[in-house]
Each structure stands twice: as C-alpha cells, then as structure tokens.
Amino acid sequence: MKILNQEETKRISDKVMSLSKADECIVTINGSRTGNIRYARNAVSTAGLVENTQLSVAVAFGKKQGTAVINEFDDKSLAKAVQRAEELAKLAPENPEFMPTPDKQAFKGSDTFSKSTDAINPEYRAQVAAYSIEACKKKGLVAAGFFTDQSSFETVANSRGVFGHQSQTGIDFTCTVRTEDGRGSGWVRRDAQDVNRFDPRAAAEVAMEKAIRSAEAKALEPGRYTVILEPAATSDLLAFMFNSFDARSADEGRSFLAKKGGGNRMGEKLFDEQVNVWADPWDKDIPVLPWDNQTLLARERMDIIKNGKIASMNYSPFWGKKQGQRAVGQPGNIIMSGGSKSTEELIASTKKGILVTRTWYIRMVDPQTVLLTGLTRDGTFYIENGKIKHPVKNFRFNESPVTMLNNIEELGRPEVLAGDESQFQLLIPAMKVRDFNFTSLSDAV
C-alpha cells in the first residue's frame, strides 16, 4: 500500500470513528517504505524493499478496552476492525487504571521529513555498499555492512477531536571492516534524517582505518582506567538508564530513582554538574514526532537532567493523576550537551587512557544501581601522552552509567546516533571519564 497523505488518513480515521459505538475511540495509522541492502565478505548478500501500512483501532466501553490492528483499508475492512475491537473490549475485564483519551489539543509540527531521503532508490543503496566493498578489496580488507532507509508517516486521532499527521524519513548505516587474517576489526555507524548529511565514503574510511590500526592488539590488565568513550560506546548505556526514568517505578521503590524511605529523587544531584540532558521534539538535528502515540499526549521540550540534578521524570496519565503531576508525551529523543572538541582533541589532552569505539551486548546486572555489563568492540586503543600508542584487547566492563556520569572529565562534540538497544534517537557527545571499571579481558576481535 502506498504512503497515505493527510487527507486520506483523515478520511479513514473519520470513517472509523463514525462506525464506532464505543464510549471512546482512538485511531493510529502507520505506513512505511523501508529499503535495505546487506553485504558481507565483500559481496552483497540481500537487498529488499518492504512497504507496509497498518491501522490500529482502540475502543473503550467504560473501563473495558479492546484493540484491533489490520492492514486492509476498504470500507468493509474498516467496519470489521471496529467490530473486532468492540468485541474484544466487551470480553475484557475492567481495568481500574483505565484513563480516558486526551481532549482536543494542537500539535506543533516538527521538521522530520527530507525529500532527498524519500527519493533514495536501489542504485543509491548499491552504491553505498559498493563504496566500502571496493575500497576494502583494494586494501586487502573485508567489509560487512547494512544500509537501510525509511520514509514513513503516522496519523493519530481520537473521538475527542485530537488529530495529527506527519511524515518522517531516516537512514541508518553500519559497517564492520576486518583484516583478512581476522586480527583487526573496525566499525562505523551513521544515522541521519536527511541523507545529504551522510557521506558513505567517509564513513567507510573510518571503519577501514580502525580495522588496520586495531590489528596486533596488546593485552592490558583489567582495572579502572580513564577512558574516552565515543558516542557509540555510551549510547546503549544511556538508553538503559533513561528507560528507568519512570516516576511510578521510582515512587514504588523499584528503580535507582527511588528514595530510601519512600518517594522519588526528583531534584537531587545524582551526576556531575556538567551533565545536562533534555528532550526536544523540534531539535534541528534530531527532530521527532510532536506526540507520543501511546497516550496521544503532546511532547514538550523538557529538561531531564539539569546541572547534574534530576529535572523531570516520566508520568503515565494514570500515575500523574494519582500523584497530582501533569503527564506529558514521553520523550522520543535524548539530547546531551557537550563541548566543541573532536575525539582527536580529547585524545590530545589525555596523558594515559583508553579510547573505546563502541560497546556491545549490554545487559542489566542490577537495576538497583543500573549496573550494566558489556564489552568493548571494533577498535579499542591505548592512549599515552596525547597520542594513540597501540591497540589493546577488548575488555568486559561492569559499570553503572550513573557512576560514569559522575566521573566526567571532559565532553566532546555531540553526534546523532541510534542505539542497538535504544528506543530513543540520541544526540550525545564523546566523553572523557575517569575510573571506568573494566573487569576482564576478551580474546574477541
């Protein structure tokens, strides 16, 4: 099914709501066209284009809810979806925590669409793959990568008059380059809303250089080190922590933001005062939709951490009402302020330390302290007197992002990045951090 425009989705959502006999009705329509190309061993392995559109109808009778999702849009299918959602709602037990859908509100649009990204074709994708494959072949390196581009829209509407429609685009590129003998490995990730901001050749060069430089790695003793963490080394650590900013979990005593004796740690200083984090749907580098499609509430620019202090937490409509707090749309992006230095400049000001390109397979060890474990991967280097001295073997770490954000020495220039485990779009700086806890060595390259 083709990408629908605002008039078309307005007609569909109006039709659905006119068919519903429920007390309230919420309609969400999502459509996307996603292209991809995957390569490994210096050859393309798969390429594809997937188009999909779906309609979700959520209804409520009193405190009884039901949801139906379909991917057909003729009048008969719309009627069927409404009927099924209503049947499910009637079968469901009452949910005492049910909250009515929000009243009519205006959404201030954000600039999430790029014509250039929308126009990406198979030839462009093949060219992205070819740049790294050909360059690697020339240098006796082996490339594996994945490029994906998406053009999509989302429509939200409810029976109280809420209506929003917006188009979005984005690209994500990752490339792993290995030396033929498997002793060196480098990696790069690039994310952008506008493909014009993406340079596939330059990106491939980064992975290639790291692959060549990371061969002949030496083992360092595990322990606490000053580290320079590139943005891809902290993106998933931060995402794990920001997943725990739910006010209810904190108030219930089951999050690191819970206060001993009851309540939460709103306003407390938990991090170094250099730490400033906020969400902003209209940010020019990582704009996101101006609504939260789970609650249909408008997103706002909101401080999350201000000068190291907890500045806001996420309230669901139910918990907000119970606690007398205003619920707003959950953030779609996380922005952390940084400095103006490049990673090279951060290295230049470091006497002894370790440069980490990225971290991998991060899992929660203890939610009480947000203790996370994971490993470095694809380019870990020893720094001495402001220069990269030699590559080092990968480490496993056991560290909490809360501790990490307390031990900041210096921040670099922020970069746009998606994470493997992150539901947020991120704009975060490279960080120089002292006493980062590496607990064992890994032989993995």
Partner: protein, 544 residues
C-alpha cells in the same frame, strides 16, 4: 542475541515486535485454517511464474501467523490482543543468485507478481555476486503435513479462564511477599505451507506458549528491591503446559525450590517467587573468588545458548553476521582438525529439531528439509555446525541440517539455531549426590543477566537464585552473584553431570539475529552439571 527488550514495551508494542503487521481477529475465526487446496494452487502459480521468468529454483512459503498476548500488572489485566498476519514469501535462484519478494495479496496475480519480482531482484544481485548459490540436494516429499502434538489448543480456551489463572498467580505472589508482579501469556500458532520446485508441498501447524512473570519485593526502609522471575520455560506445546501435574514437579538440590518438567504449576511458582524475592532482600552478599558452580537446567539453557548455540552457527563462522551479531571463535580449521577440545570428555552437545515439546521442533524446516538430530560436540571435541542447504557443502555435508527459518512470510529464511542441548551424564547421579562432593561452591537456579562477546569467548552470567555450597551441603541464599569465564575454559571445567532423570529443557522465545533482525524460538536441554573453579564476581555497587 537473546532479546529482553519486550519487557519495557506496552502490550501493543509487544504484539508489533512479534508480528510487525498483525491483524486483530475474533477468537472464533482463529481456528479455521486456510484450505490446503487453495494454498497448493497459489504455490503452483508462484512456482510456475518464477520458472517462466528464468528461475532455476523457487520456494514459496504461505504463512498465517496467529498470536494472542495477555498482559497483567498486579491484580489488573492490562491488555488482551489478538493478531493475525497472512501472506506469501517467494525465494528464487536466478543466474546463480538469490532473490526474494513477499506480498500480502493472496491472489494468483499477487503471488505471480511477487515471484517475477523475486526473479528480477535475483538477476540484479547476480551482477554483484562472485560465486553462484549451490543448494545441497533435498528430496521432494510430495504432499505431506506435520503438526505440533498438542492436547489443549489455546485458541479454544476462554479468555476469562486465562485471565483468572494469571490473576490467581499474581495474587499468590503478592500474598507471599512480593510488592509487585507483572505476568504475561504469549500464545503462538504458525500455519506454514511450503512448496518448492523440488516437488515438496508441506503443510505445518505449529504451536508455542510462554508465561513469564517478574515478582519484585521492595524494602522501603532500606531502599532495596529484588526480583525473582518464573522458573517455567517457553514450550512448543499447547495450553496443557499449564496443567502443572504432580508427576512433573522436581525438588531442586537440597529442596531449595520446586522445579518443573513437561508441565508447569504457574500459581505455585508465583507464590514461591513472592517468598523468594523477599528472601533475596536480606540474603548474604557473595564473597568474590573461585567457586565450583552447580548449575540447574533452568539456568544452563542460556549458557548453552550463548556459548555453544551461537558460536556453532555456520553463517557466523563464515562471516555473514560480522556486522551485527559477530563472528565465531569456533573456526573451520578447529572443526577440521578433529581435535579441538571445546569441553571436557563429559561434554556431548547435540542439535535436535525433533524433541517433542521443544520450541525448535518442526517436521520440516523453511527449505523443506526433514528435521533430524546430529552431534555438534562429541566427547568434548568440536565435530559439526548448524547448516542450511547453501552451506552444507562448505563443511563437507551431503545434505542440509534443516536449520532454515524465517519469522514471518514477509522475511527471507536464513540459518537459525536448532535446539542445542547438553546430553545427560551416563552414570547414575542425582543433583543431591552431585552436590555431596563440592567443598566450596554455588548452586544457581534460573537464568538472569547475560552477556557475551562477538566471537563468543568471554561471557558473564547471573541467575535467579544462588545458594552457598559448603562441604557437600547446600546452605544459605546468596546475592550479587555473577560468573565470568571463557567458553573453552568453562566447558573444559565441566566435571560432572546428572543422569537423564534430571534432563529437561529451558529456552528462548525471542532470539534475535540478522539485519533486518528476525526473532526465533529455541530450546536447550541439560541435566544439573558441575563446573570447577569458575570466577565469581560481586555485583553490589553504591551510587549517589
């Protein structure tokens, strides 16, 4: 990579994760299958269209995927979602390259169009391909069918009965000491029809089910909280898994917990979880150091999954997953040497897609290959991998292992892990007898935190419950335990395992791999086993 992301998702997002473009349907419609005659007609249309367009090979997968999810929080049912997704995926080889296209348009014109598109993509890909795809031969089997043997179909169990069971379990946990509990019921039915130009028409009806929960105890005065999740397992069974028969209950070593084989008593386990979550709040923090670990099958499955299952996937070994999941230390030269000591002599690891009740059990894989079992590690030596038709020749096999799988009609099939299990010990040994010889050890029950590097050397695992073993006796509960080891060192430290009476399976419902990522479900069996001198760290920290 075992995925846990679903824990943070709402019911709707969870449904979307399992079935990206699902269609909600009424319960009474779920049980009506699509006519086999209709599926064969569609398949023949696609096969003919692909062949006429120049394909040297074609397979067609017609899928109807039905799911139901029920999510709860404490005494409330949060959501009930039914989804259906149906469509056709066509894979071809043309000019020596693969092409794939999929459509939800289940008309003869729709599938013929997809078949021609797949051929066009294959021809375009052929220009960038160095060597042509070679498929190991597999015999056409004509018209056959296979179904997961189930006794109770989840589609016919009333929603009220399921909701009541979950709420009874939650109530039990809360009364026993938990401050909060979330429980979920995942139910899956995959109706898969496979046809290929080799002459196979295979109709399969697959069922899976999982009831995870997370009980949390909070001590507000100390600010401490601890959770205990279920000791059940996802299964390839019907709703009869929740019968919780007496004969399927097992006492853990030292009687510290009740464990389950074949069927599961959800309410009993939830009550125990409430009690044990509270007990964890005051358990002794572990002294770091070397310990002999005694690992229950409820824990072992995840260690097997990460440290044997993934490193022996042949696509990883060859480098096809280098950009995402990673490669593998278990390289071809190690297998070809026939003397790479993966583990001690006791370690025998078998791949088996035929075990009844397992998540990976099917009659035929997504390339029409009849399922079977084979050795991966024999007497400690790495002897084989997990291969699909296009990989079999690389390791000198004449036929595929039957390891091809796609999570949806809209995704292309590729190599996925079969059930990979540690065989039981040959000598008679119970868990209590095994513990008797351990001087300084830890008994670990249930799976917890997990992480392993991209070549599968260095790993770290937590657990659900930890008990001190001192001079052959199981003692007090411990907390803050995680063990770190290297795959080869760990499996070579295996010194004892219980016999087949103690053998049972655990498994993963959401094992992620590939770009774009697909999920699959897989089981891993073992009996309680001992590993000597493993490094244990203390994970307690202080923040702010």
């Amino acid at each position: 990579m075992e995925r846990r992301a679903f824990l943070n998702m709402s019911g709707g997002a969870m449904a979307a994760m399992m079935m990206p473009f699902g269609r909600a349907i009424a319960a009474d419609e779920l049980v009506k299958p699509v006519e086999v005659k209709f599926k064969k007609m569609l398949a023949d249309t696609a096969l003919t269209a692909a062949t006429q367009a120049g394909a040297s090979y074609c397979d067609v997968r017609i899928g109807r995927y039905l799911n139901q999810f029920i999510t709860t929080r404490d005494l409330n049912i949060e959501n009930v979602t039914n989804t259906e997704s149906a469509g056709v995926g066509v894979r071809v080889i043309a000019n020596g390259a693969y092409g794939f296209a999929a459509t939800s348009d289940m008309s003869p014109d729709g599938v013929a169009g997809a078949a021609r598109q797949a051929v066009a993509i294959a021809k375009a890909n052929a220009k960038l391909q160095a060597a042509g795809v070679q498929l190991a031969p597999t015999p056409g089997v004509g018209e056959v069918s296979w179904a997961t043997p189930i006794r109770k179909d989840w589609r016919t169990v009333p929603i009220k009965e399921k909701a009541d069971l979950l709420i009874t379990a939650n109530k039990g946990a809360l009364e026993a000491g938990a401050s909060f509990i979330q429980s979920l019921l995942f139910q899956v039915n995959q109706q898969k029809y496979f046809a290929s130009t080799d002459g196979s028409y295979i109709d399969q009806d697959l069922h899976r089910l999982w009831v995870p929960f997370f009980a949390t105890a909070v001590d507000k005065s100390t600010g401490k909280f601890r959770s205990r999740s279920d000791l059940g397992t996802p299964v390839g069974m019907g709703y009869e898994y929740l019968d919780g028969r007496k004969e399927d209950k097992i006492k853990a070593a030292g009687g510290v917990a009740t464990l389950y084989n074949r069927t599961y008593d959800l309410v009993e386990d939830a009550k125990a979880a409430g009690r044990q979550a509270k007990e964890k709040l005051t358990a002794k923090s572990v002294e770091p150091g070397k310990y002999d670990l005694v690992l229950s099958p409820e824990h072992m499955w995840l260690t097997i999954h990460e440290s044997v299952g993934h490193p022996t996937e042949l696509d990883r070994v060859l480098g096809y997953e280098a950009n995402f999941a990673g490669t593998s230390f278990a390289t071809l030269d190690k297998q070809q040497s026939k003397k790479f000591k993966y583990g001690s002599d006791l370690v025998n690891i078998e791949a088996d897609k035929t075990i009844q009740g397992s998540l990976g059990a099917v009659g035929y894989d997504d390339e029409g290959v009849k399922c079977k079992k084979w050795d991966i590690i024999k007497d400690g030596i790495l002897v084989n991998y997990q291969a699909t038709r296009d990989q079999a020749a690389v390791i000198g096999e004449k036929e595929s292992h039957g390891c091809s799988y796609a999570d949806s009609w809209s995704n292309v099939q590729f190599q996925r892990m079969p059930n990979v299990s540690l065989k039981a010990g040959k000598k008679k040994l119970t868990p209590d007898e095994l513990v008797k010889d351990v001087k300084k050890g830890i008994y670990i029950v249930g799976a917890g935190s997990f992480s392993i590097d991209q070549q599968r050397y260095n790993f770290q695992f937590g657990g659900q419950m930890f008990y001190e073993i001192k001079d052959g006796k199981i003692g007090q509960m411990l907390e803050d335990v995680a063990y770190q080891s290297n795959t080869q060192e760990f499996w070579n430290a295996c010194t004892a395992m219980c016999d087949e009476r103690d053998w049972r399976m655990g498994g993963s419902f959401f094992d992620g791999k590939g770009q774009p990522m697909q999920v699959s479900a897989v089981s891993h069996g073992s009996s309680t086993s001992r590993f000597n001198g493993i490094n244990v760290i203390n994970t307690a920290r202080k923040i702010g």
